[in-house]
């Protein structure tokens, strides 16, 4: 439970940054990419991109895989799917609470 909570917070935190979101947007097309490919056409340095990738990795959103001498990063949809599911649960709780409020004030 605690671990799950931690992961959720990490996922939201990891996604709360435009650079990391653009990395996720590139990677979520399915193709694993190298740091060099991800740095191309970016104003950021390789080091900066690597740092952002590590944040995404710690939230489980990307995984690094070795291909020869290079590290490739690939997208894992699972953590984002879990966060979506959690928001859906909270949303459902509110639907129920608001319906109770509705019958409470309309009676």
């Amino acid at each position: 439970m605690a671990a799950k909570r931690r992961t959720r917070v990490l996922v939201f935190a990891a996604l709360g940054d435009p650079t990391r979101l653009s990395l996720v947007a590139k990677l979520c097309r399915g193709q694993p990419r190298s740091i060099s490919q991800l740095t191309e056409r970016s104003k950021l340095t390789r080091q900066a991109i690597t740092k952002h990738l590590r944040v995404l990795e710690s939230a489980g959103i990307v995984h690094s895989v070795h291909a020869g001498r290079e590290s490739l990063f690939e997208f894992d949809p699972q953590p984002i799917a879990e966060v979506r599911e959690y928001l859906g649960f909270v949303s459902q709780q509110w639907d129920q609470a608001l319906l109770r409020l509705k019958s409470f004030v309309e009676d």
Partner: protein, 154 residues
Amino acid sequence: MRDSIEKRIELKAPISRVWRALTDYREFGEWFRVKLDGPFVPGQVSRGQMTYPGYEHVKWEAVVQKMEPERLFSFTWPHPRTFAKVDQPVDYSEEPTTLVEFRLAIIASGTLLVLTESGFDNLHGDRRLEAFRRNDGGWTEQMKNIENYVAHEP
């Protein structure tokens, strides 16, 4: 996917009635299903115990933020709330919090209530939230991409 939840509901009741149901701690407790220790006071912690069936062991704790009569009632709460037993003290200050806002407006049929819960990306304090607000456009756009992806490739 956004970092917030928004709900709109039309209530066939005068705004003063809805305001009371939201901000009188006993009335709030009736529909929310929580037994609160005392009245809501801005800036103060509200404590109580859930009465929702199956969740009676869960402690309620929130910090009341704003009470602008018949307009806005808001509080922050630790989220996800720890399902702490009442006799087990838990340090909620270590938990990430979200902001819950109830906004009211008069409409022809009675009252429009807009509920938002935001700050799911809030890690430590409000800095994340601020960052999110500044980047809202980009964030929303990007999340659509991700959402499409996740929806199509479960």
